[in-house]
Symmetry: C3
Subunit: 139 residues, 3 copies
């Protein structure tokens, strides 16, 4: 069994952002030499997500406004977590809706994807350096 590990770093200029990281994951897969197996891609921070959906900018704006409805950022006093001095109570909740991680099949050395699947980094408390972990196991 082969295994491979890489950290990807992100620093988004806005508090909320969605970045298509599929090309970086494909590069990792190539580096790993794995032809059959699984790749795990997860946010290493608890106010960010990794998820799979469509690379369409209108949809990303829909995600942002929908998540803001489900877990509004303001007023900050809405969240007990913010009494610790944080202002990211909403970010922890948004991340739960969108998920921490994806597991993707590797078949014949490629990400085994349907026609529109793309991997995104979802940032809900940006403007600072944060990491994504890529772990690949297989043969």
């Amino acid at each position: 069994m082969k295994s491979y590990r890489k950290e990807l770093w992100f620093d988004t200029p806005s508090r909320i952002a969605f970045l298509n990281i599929t090309p970086q994951i494909e590069t990792c897969l190539l580096e790993s030499g794995v032809r059959e197996g699984l790749v795990l891609v997860n946010a290493m921070h608890i106010t960010a997500s990794v998820f799979i959906n469509d690379d369409e900018s209108g949809l990303h704006r829909d995600f942002e406004s929908w998540l803001e409805q489900l877990a509004p950022h303001a007023p900050l006093g809405r969240y007990q977590h913010n009494r610790t001095g944080e202002d990211n109570g909403d970010s922890h909740l948004k991340r739960q809706v969108m998920g921490r991680e994806v597991v993707v099949a590797i078949t014949e050395g490629r990400l085994d994807f349907g026609p529109w699947e793309q991997i995104f980094y979802g940032e809900f408390d940006g403007k600072r350096k944060k990491r994504v972990l890529v772990k690949i196991i297989g043969e």
Copy 2:
């Protein structure tokens, strides 16, 4: 390490549907010959889900009405994604709540499940052919 891959096809008569696909996954597991490992089951389309919950029809109606409250289908203009000519903005959001994939342990050649766990295909934009991927790795 063994690996196994299969696509399952679905074409639901309604826009929203929940199908128990546990028997098909059990058949895949038998075909794979894997006794110890993991099975990944994921929707290959970004307006559908694979999830684990209870096979109880009342609960499935609860899922449908709850998701409709969280991310209503209409009015279509509610979603920027629908300006692309699509009418499935809500389906992309519903799929995020229910999840893209499940990873299930394989122990002694069987799905290692609690008493009520069953695997479901969740369709949120049906009436057309769509796929689920089953990937098994192990020994």
Copy 3:
């Protein structure tokens, strides 16, 4: 390829509870002897979750009140599932938001975590014995 399996049992005194189970998972990892691989941790019951977030009590109260807003427990008649004699329709929905499982990378014999990642058991219908499955594969 090595594989390892363990069941963890929980019986929470309240209907809703969040328990940090990271130490138990680290013990499992040590017992498994796996240095490189993946660990799957999943609720074996369909009204409970396993998820990764922050070990901060204010945030846990935020999770509880937020989930109660998204899927209120009462009135019980709100859920068709409760017509079966159950009173846990809301618990099945809350579990979908928080997720069934996490998959965590194992690197050099340790859980490959970011600075604040901790694994939680999320109980939404407690006051009885329920199980979590830990499955580890790797080398």
